[in-house]
Structures are given as C-alpha cells and as structure tokens.
Symmetry: C2
Subunit: 343 residues, 2 copies
C-alpha cells in the first residue's frame, strides 16, 4: 500500500533539489534546506523522514542538520541512471497506472488516451507527444549504450550473410550490425512499418552504410521477406501475446534459409517466479499492459524454448548477461537466445 | 522503484474480479479467468505473476489452474478494509502524487487542481467532487467506527462540563460526547467554519442533542471562544505546520478555564524513525502534502509534548491503542494526549 508514496517521497527529495543541496553542503537544517529549494521547512522535514528511516540521509539531533548517509556513497553515474529510470516511472507510469484495469480489459493503453488523447502504444506516442518522448528518450539511450554491445557479442554472423532486423525501428540495429558484424558481402535489411522508411534510409546514408543496408516495409504479423541467413528479433517479442509471438516466429522461420539462425533478445522471468531477488514480476506486467502496449508480457526462458521448438527451431545457445555487469538497481534481466532453423 | 507497479498490479487483480472468481471456484486457468472477467488470458497470466511470487495465489503447473493461497486465509472484513484503503490510494493519491513536488513548492494540493480543477484541501473537495467523496467516504466511516469509541474511552469529562470540539465538522464529535460522556449539565460546542453551521444544527436536532449542543463559527487560527473545561482537538493538528499548531494550542489555552483539559487525538511518528515496523514515514508525508492539504504532517509524541509544554500545558496522560486491536494492515498509529492548563 505504501509503494506509490515511498516512490514519490524519495523522488521528490531529488526533484526538489534537497539531495543536491545536501551534496553541496552537509549539515543544513530544514530551514536552510527549505530556503535553498523554495519549500517550507516543515515540508522539507516531512519529506526527509523516509530517507532518514532508510538511512539515505542522517540528522544531527543536536543541531537539526541533515547530511547524506548511504546516498553519499552512490556514484554519480549510478545515481543518474536510477534517477532517469525513476523519472520515466513518474512521467510515463505513475498516473497511467490508474487505468491499468481498463488497459487490461480493452487491450490498449488507456492512460495514454486519458492524459494525451493518444490512441496507440507508448512507442508511437513518444514520436508525437513531447512529454512521453522526454520521459522515454534518455532511457532508450541508456538501454542502447548498455545493452547493444553485449547483444552483438552474443551471436555470430557468417561472412557475407544476409541479415533481417525485424522491427528494426529507425535503422540503428542494421547500422550496428554493419559496424560490429561486418564482413565482405554482408547485407542487412531493416523490416519496419512503412512510415519509418525515409528516416531509416537517411540514417543509413548518414552512417555510411547505405550500400549494405536496405529497408522493407510491412507488418510483422502478416509476413516477412525471405532469403535470409540471420533474423534478429531485438527487444519486442515481450510486447506481444502468445498467439502473436508464435505468428512472428513462424514468419521468421519462413524468412530464413535452411540452417539459418534466429537471434532473440528479450527479458525473461526467472524459472522460479518466487525468486525474491528478481523484480520483473513486480514491474513488467503493469508496465507493459498499463503503460506501453496494453498486451504482451515477459515469459520464462523455458517458455520461449518451447515456442521456438514448436515453430521449427532448435535452440543452440542462451547468453545471460554477466551478473557482475548488472547494476544492483537493474530490474530487467535479458537473455539472448540463438536458435537454428531445423531441417 | 517498483512500488507503484506492485500496488496497481495487485489492486487490478481485485478490481478486475480475478480474486473473486478464484474465491468462487478454485483451479480456473488463465483462459477461464479471462473469460470470467473479460480480459485476454495472456493479460490475466501476466497480472498473476506477482501474486504468485508473493504466495497470494498458487498455480498448478500440470493443469495451469490457479487457486487462492495466502489470500484464502484473509477474513472478508479484513480484506474489505484493506481494499477500501487501496481504493482510496488509487483514486485519491496515485495520480495526484505526480504533483507532490509542486504541492510542496506551492503549499497546496496541486493534484486536486490538475484533476478536478479544485483549489483547496481534499476535505473541501470531498464535499463537492463526487469522485473524491466516493474515494474518501468509506474510509472516513471505517475511521469513525474503529477510532471514536476508543478515543472517547481515553479521557474523562467532569460532570456538567463545558466541552469545545474544535474543528468539529458536522457535529458528530459533539453528538458522541453527549452520548458517551453525558452528565447533567453537560454542554458541548462545535467550533467550525461558519458554512457548516446549518448542517451541524440539523444533526444536533436529528440526534436529539439540540438542547445540550451549540455551534460557534470561526477560524481556529484566529481565536476560539472562551470559558471551557475541556477542549477536544480530534484528528487535525497533523494537518498544520508547526507555527500553526502552536497558534492553535495557544488559542485552546485561552479557551480553557484554569485547570481545564485539552485532549489531542493524532497519529504520531515513532520516537525512533528508523523503526521498520512503522510505515507512517513511508505514507504520511506524501499523503498529507501531496493529496490532502499541501502542508502539515505527523510529529513524534515527544514533539507534541514539547509544544504543549511551550503553550502552557502539562501532559497528564498518553493513551496508545492496544497493539492487539490494531490490524496488521494499519498504517496509522494514533495516540490520545491529555494535558492540563497550567496554573
């Protein structure tokens, strides 16, 4: 019951600048902090009770001065990453979650409609609603920076292969495939909704890969172009329900040459859902159903294995990120699943 | 970070009727539950991952059927009380908390303005905004039923005393004083903003206490009428900042005859704010500042003791509720402080 209040009390201490003020100068009283951040001392004192309780800050009972406690030990880059994520939760989720039951009933993100008059997914809203874009943009950049290098280390692309990047967005996946998996004769095709073609081709041009890259417009639930050696499904199968994922996997199967490889990047639930260290069940259903697409959700690795098998693939390799590389604040636990088209 | 999502995922399972469906019939699959509550099976499965993780429900891996686990052991009255509180948090707080930093900066409840165009406190909004009233009404009734009998057992009213019920709302406190503390010659005055006079007098009439009860309109921060033996401050000092509480206590001091008694009912923070079993620091700052009045907040008992002393009172008795009478889901920890006007 105190989840929403805990979240906003802590975030408000950052957003109002109380933590920054204490970082600059320890020992400030509620009156001094109030003057520094433009709030009544009483309110500052109230907001700081929870950080005090959690040991994030400390208070000298004699002087009434506050200092950073556990928060003083958090590295700036770690803090900024967490605050970016918290900012997304505040702007992109907190109010929208009110409509979670309605989103589940209708299979659409009712929160986006209520707050922005927007019908569609969060990804689509980010393209046209500045507030949504500003909430999600920094997160998407963090994602790309931290996940893509690891993703591309997790599978091999044969020399001269033809690669299909399914739902490849504005072409970044294709560009990185050329850079990190380049070989003579390599060709990469971005498959995406036709509306993104112009932007995608501009990006290929700007990054000097227009010769190797092409664009095919279409709907992943209808069909994919054929004749490929490698098909990439990066970060989106969890946005579809089971029947749609099976359709996508079958379409990918048809797109591949015999012996071709499918590479799936997706967050997965732990096989033991009661694992207390894994917070994905705490986060993702509400996030995906209530704030992003109104359908879909994570699966367990064993579920994806079964679905791949069912669609004519043999799983050859599963790569999880080195736990040492996953910061303590990370909620998402992604894997890369490589599988080969049978027969 | 997962506080808001945990809250709404669990609440959505109740609001959509998934828990009710399982209570009626154990062993339903996601497909059967989806049909019963009007949602896609995939979404039901996603929402149930968190209750599975928490052990609230269980799932038979062979049949895919869900049953109530820990939730089966929760008594209906307990569950309804918790759901009433969760409903208030959803409607009265979740979206409004987005504006917590703004509420703190402006000292007003910005969320009420944004969502209802209402300027004022949640109490005032409840009088005119149906959605606010429906969120708060059941909670206020639970409050009255569970707290008032205990409150009135916690202090004595001398026979024939003159009692002032400060900010006495629609007169309920005065009516209960007559009923539970009645004696020949007892007189009770409800002090409240003038707008409530007519409703208050109607209630006195309807409950047959019009002879003993009267109404005085005014502002508690200006002055109180004088000549009383007992002054009641029920459940509102935590809605004021320190300077205002001191003003109210000084006004109460003037309202009392020498040796007269002040009785304060208020929730209090634990003396050790780091007590992990006390969730008030997790809840109240965001609640009071962001959702109710935009100012004020709980204090520790020692703080109220000091303030009463400073305003000319001697604390004579502090009554905490018997822990055995406090349900495990209760966030609020109230005390009754009795103090006598010095010399």
């Amino acid at each position: 019951m105190v989840g929403p209040t805990r979240f906003m009390t802590l975030y408000a201490c950052f957003e109002l600048g109380i933590v920054d003020a204490l970082r600059k100068e320890g020992g400030l009283t509620a009156a001094e902090l109030g003057a520094a951040v433009g709030a009544k001392p009483d309110a500052v004192e109230q907001l700081l009770y929870l950080p005090l309780k959690e040991g994030f800050v400390a208070r000298d009972e004699a002087t009434g001065g506050y200092t950073l406690a556990a928060l003083a030990d958090v590295a700036e880059t770690d803090l900024q990453r967490v605050l970016t994520f918290m900012g997304m939760i505040k702007t992109g989720m907190l109010r929208q979650l009110y409509y979670l039951p309605d989103s589940v009933s209708t299979g659409s993100v009712v929160g986006l409609k209520e707050f922005y008059g927007f019908e569609g997914t969060m990804f689509e809203a980010a393209a046209v609603v500045p507030e949504v874009r500003s909430a999600w943009g920094p997160l998407a950049q963090n994602e790309t920076a931290s996940v893509y290098p690891w993703f591309f280390r997790s599978f091999d692309v044969p020399d001269g292969a033809r690669v299909l990047d399914v739902r490849g967005g504005n072409g970044l996946g294709a560009i990185m495939t050329c850079r990190l998996k380049g070989s003579p004769g390599l060709r990469v095709t971005t498959f995406e909704q036709p509306a993104l073609e112009a932007e995608c081709l501009r990006n290929f041009e700007a990054h000097g890969v227009a010769e190797q890259c092409s664009f095919v417009g279409g709907d992943v639930l209808q069909s994919l172009p054929g004749g490929f050696d490698v098909v990439l499904l990066k970060h989106f199968v969890d946005m579809y329900d089971k029947d749609d994922v099976l359709t996508i996997l079958k379409n990918a199967h048809q797109a591949l040459e015999p012996g071709g490889q499918i590479v799936v990047l997706a967050p997965v639930y732990p096989e033991d859902i009661t694992d207390p260290d894994d917070l994905q069940a705490d986060f993702f259903p509400a996030y995906i159903l209530g704030c992003v697409v109104g359908r879909g959700g994570l699966q367990k690795l064993s579920t994806y294995r079964g679905w791949l098998q069912e669609c004519g693939f043999e799983v050859t390799k599963v790569t999880a990120k080195d736990p040492a590389d996953i910061p303590a604040d990370a909620i998402i636990n992604r894997v890369v699943i490589c599988a080969t088209k049978r027969g």
